[in-house]
Amino acid sequence: MTDPADLTSPTAQADPASDSRPRHHVRSRLMRESLLDRQVERSTESPVHRMLPEAHVLKIGGRSILDAGREVVFPVVAALADCLQTWKLILGTGGGVRTRHVFSVGIDLGLPTGVLAQVAQADSLGNAHILGTLLAPYGVVAIPPEIFGHLLPLFLHSAPGVVFGSVPPYSLWEHPPGIGRIPPHRTDAGAFLLAECFGCRSLTLVKDVDGLHAADPKLEPGAAFIPEIGVAELKRRGLRTLPFEPVLLDLLENARLLDRFQIVNGHRPERIRAALAGEHVGTIVHRDR
């Protein structure tokens, strides 16, 4: 390891240890190091700058909210409009039933997970445009994915909120899942990863259930409600279904800035404002450390 003062030195130097075809290094802390060495990996743990510490990220469910018709959607839009008076909001949208359908056709055709991830972006983006149209009177619109991440702080400085299709840009590079073909990083994961990278204040998943239950409450109405749970305990319980993407548990385990997310019922729209105010109105899943 070189002196920290050398970190930004532009000096290039040849690797003295190599043969007649030297590697030309730029002097840095990680110069010549294998980035795959565990000790080097550990040495890179350091505090993280929060880009948008005041912004709240919400993921508005596809099948659970946006596909459910005006009786459900309009009160959610009214609740979001009310919140926009108080906070800066980053609104992700699920893909809903159309994504489920395109998955089924793609799987039937034998297409791999990365292709399913790529084609699913369109449904979430379509829903982002629907939500953006409804929120347009408040100055909130859907932002094209090509410029969304890079320009997000600028947009949020200028507008009370933004809408984005929250399928992460994994596309053909989506990870092969352990079971089956469905892309593991869908719109919950896209909202989570964005909130973590930008150091946002909170992540709220707006769904059509009160939160997490010991079993799917739509199939077992008496299932016990779980108001708060840690990642390790939730993994240990191995519930058959979860009201969010299971990959969120792994992402939360490795998060540095986000330490929790809350699932709230958008069919009780007053809970959205309460959740952003820091109230416990659904299920909170928290990091263990």
Binding site: P4, S20, R21, P22, R23, H24, V26, S28, R29, L30, M31, S34, L35, L36, D37, R38, V40, E41, R42, S43, T44, E45, S46, V48, H49, V97, R100, H101, I107, D108, L109, G110, L111, P112, G114, V115, G149, P168, P169, Y170, S171, L172, W173, E174, H175, P176, P177, I179, R181, I182, L193, C197, T241, L242, F244, E245, P246, N254, A255, R256
Partner: protein, 270 residues
Amino acid sequence: MDELLTELGQALVEGSLSDEDLLARTGRPSVFHILPEANVIKVGGQSFIDRGRAAVFPFIDEVVANLGRHQMILGTGAGTRARHAYSVGLDLGMPTGVLSVLGTFVSMQNARMLSYLLAKHGIPFIEPAQFAQLPLYLAERGAVIFFGMPPYVYWHQNPAVGRIPPHRTDTGSYLVSEVLGTRSMIYVKDVDGLYTADPKKDKHARFIPRITVGELRELDLADVVVERPVFDFMAHALVRRSIQVINGLVPGNLTRALDGEPVGTVITAD
């Protein structure tokens, strides 16, 4: 609506995508191989391109010699400038997603430079948004160049340890080979393959010609020649269940690897 859907489609529309029984059903139809004649070749950044013309020119000649013999999708590593960018970024508190953007830029520089060396053969550099044209370029010219970083940018997930983006150019190239169902995944580095320790630092390091992902996990090496997430993905892979790491500084190795010979370390899924 019901008539439009298969029974599985109906279950997907109505069911939970966290239900493992439902997920298992989605794996039953056989997977389609999109480009079964193509080979993905990852060209190392620090290990290869940073060595300049002495390493790169003979390699380019060998790529050209294989045009018409093998279809090649060439991904590029990042290397020493990425290490510099990561060092500066870590010091200033950049999150993993921003470091991913910085790493992407460096691997893009390397892809552009290689593409100019191959330009007279009509071989293009393509960004992720141009992957829809990849099959045409491959059919017409026999090769394309892309940057190896997966395009996760701000959505790059954190590593369990440290802050460096865990899915870099080895992983991005591997995922291209898996999703496109290619016939091989070859890593071009400056070592003969996998050793029990870094041969550049440890004189007692032993060479490993062939190993499985499970055996590799058992060895629990402090350092490995290919990014570890590649091994995790290989365990889940449907198509690309083996990779080969070769020494690109040795003339003929690339050609032999493309011909299917083991010339470095072959790593296979269990």
